[in-house]
Amino acid sequence: MRWPPLPGALQALFEEPLPNRVSWAHVLGSALLGLLALMAVTGVLLALGYAPSTASAWESVTAIEQDPWGRLVRGLHHWGASVVIVLAAAHLARVYLFAAYRPPRHWTWVAGVGLLLVLLGFGLTGYLLPWDMKAYFGTRVATAIPASLPVIGPVIGQLIRGAGDVGDFTLTRFYTAHVILLPAALVGLVLLHLRLVRRHGITPPFADQSDVVRRDRPFFPWHAWKDSLAVLVAVGGVTYLAVAHGAPLGDKADPSNSTYVPRPEWYFLGLQHLLRIFTGPWQILATAILPGAAVTALLLVPWLDRNRRHRPAHRPVALGLGTLSAAVVVGLTVAGYRAVEHEERQQAMRAATPTSARAVTQPEPDIDLARQGAQLYADLQCAACHGTDRKTSAPGLPPDLSAAGSRLRQAWTASYLLQPTPIRWQRQDQRPVIRMPDYALSEEEAAALAAHLATRQGHMTPEVDDDLLVAATATEGRLLFEQYACSGCHVIEGRGQRVGPDLSRVGDRLQREYVFAFLQNPGEFIPGTPMEQVDLWPEEAAALAAFLATLR
């Protein structure tokens, strides 16, 4: 079989004779190039469905994830990014081991280090784009590092973010860098790198200048098949990871969240860990001096290493320093990973610890306690405001408690009775609509009243579809909360309009089943409520109820 003639440059590349000792160790660059092609293809595909705005970035990524092919493409891009870094580091280590940075190949080395920095830039800018919690808080920390530099730091931080904090301007800047500026730099550096490799040729492994290097076999097909296999293994490995694990997407970024533990991409964990080691006046070591010194040293390796020998036995200092540096980077990364894991475990334990205002499940009311509560209810004349003769609640009036047991969570009721705080607000002057007096109850009295109220199921027991509630997800509910502009009337953690009840701790206050039923027909539960009747599908109501149940 005869192949059609190739263009001149490609023909020359194919026919270039390579040193005979060039072998599997030399396939890393080609595998890296193959994965960069994969990243470019999947990046363009993702850009077709991505919208770089804080209002729509997460939603667009969610839509990509909902398409099975989109999920695969995103998975390829996600895992490809990590494997690219691994291959680039391995390629760099191989060049270092073979001392392939020696003149005349010193600029090839510099271009390669530049490429590694550009690849890290891709990782940093791409990390923000999904606009989930991890993206937001990871970038907040990443941009705070240069911003913490003395004197010029605040200016640099402002320039990188485009504003005082991470937001729309940051997202559009990072997106532009990710899809225009960095790709342009990458293409330029790859072309320069390849041009220099072609000009100076491949360095045979461990060959000193006195060694005779035979070059009697061309690149194609004698080495090309190894390169091709390496590319296939790399692309195949990334495809496996994408199919098996997909790409993570957390909840949409919530800048008000105060419990999220920032976790940068794994190859920045070491850098972040430096911030734990060097604090206070020493922080500049972690933010500028050590990373800057490491990059400078890496760039200057060809000039720092004056040894002319190639064999490892003749380069103990260079290889010792190289091994030590690699061990430090790996050690910092592992330590950074463990520190984040530890902090996440601590956070989870704190969140799981019940407090007086946090009920995990709705317990069965204690009958004896409920009897005491019923007596107390009568003694305190609660019925004067919450009279059972008035079968319903209405805006501006104390709520009907005849169905409190099917509506309120018992633990919240007890905690509320100890310290009543306003839940509903005047539309105009934002003052509480009604005030529940503070009866200075003891904890026992509050618990008894709460137990009594928990027994009052009333006539408003909601009809619940358990299957729907089980299938509903809080993530979808959060999306619906935004779509229906619920924050136009409800506050969550200080965000939104104070028209209806504050929902910041509604998961503690109301039972999910009640919320599910109420959302579908508010007027049935609170006649005359200003709550807008929205045409919700039961699945939507279930998802919203699931989301609201997480607000604790």
């Binding site: 994969l38 999947t42 091709s228 296999l229 692309v235």
Partner: protein
């Protein structure tokens, strides 16, 4: 020399084969993703227009506004739509889409002329949705209707 030439041909074939597999690994998800909009089915839903009593039989056409989930976007919000609803003397409900069958512009109801008129290319339809004039290739689309719990609903 013969051996070397044969081995070279063999390795050349290997290179082509390996790269073809790599290309396939890239091309399958790329094509799948690019073509996936063609496979996206739109689920029909019943939308409530209002109590059936607000559409009296034998009266003028009512312009009914409703909102549906925007399945053309990823933010998943709701988009407003319009339907022209009329109940015949016999009580049958005719619910017409407001989208011109020519190029998809929205038609408006001209009560004086008892017709629907398209502002884009001059298409006109009668109250049944049949083409009277202009380039529309077919009558206005009709929604399926039903009455549920006293409310008129259309299938969108």
């Amino acid at each position: 020399m013969e051996d070397s030439s044969g081995r070279r041909r063999f390795l050349s074939g290997i290179v082509v084969g390996l790269n073809a597999v790599t290309g396939l690994l890239l091309a399958v998800p790329a094509l799948g993703y690019l073509l996936s909009p063609l496979l996206r089915a739109r689920a029909s839903t019943w939308v409530r227009l209002g109590p059936i009593g607000s559409f009296p039989a034998g009266q003028d056409t009512v312009v009914a506004e409703f909102s549906v989930h925007d399945d053309a976007g990823f933010t998943g919000g709701r988009v407003r739509r319009r339907a022209f609803v009329r109940r015949t003397d016999g009580g049958d409900v005719i619910a017409l889409s407001s989208r011109c069958t020519h190029m998809g512009c929205n038609v408006s109801y001209n009560a004086g002329a008892d017709s629907f008129e398209c502002p884009c290319h001059g298409g006109r339809y009668d109250l049944e949705g049949n083409v009277i004039e202009g380039p529309p290739p077919r009558p206005l689309d009709r929604y399926r209707t039903r009455v549920a719990a006293g409310n008129l609903e259309i299938e969108t």
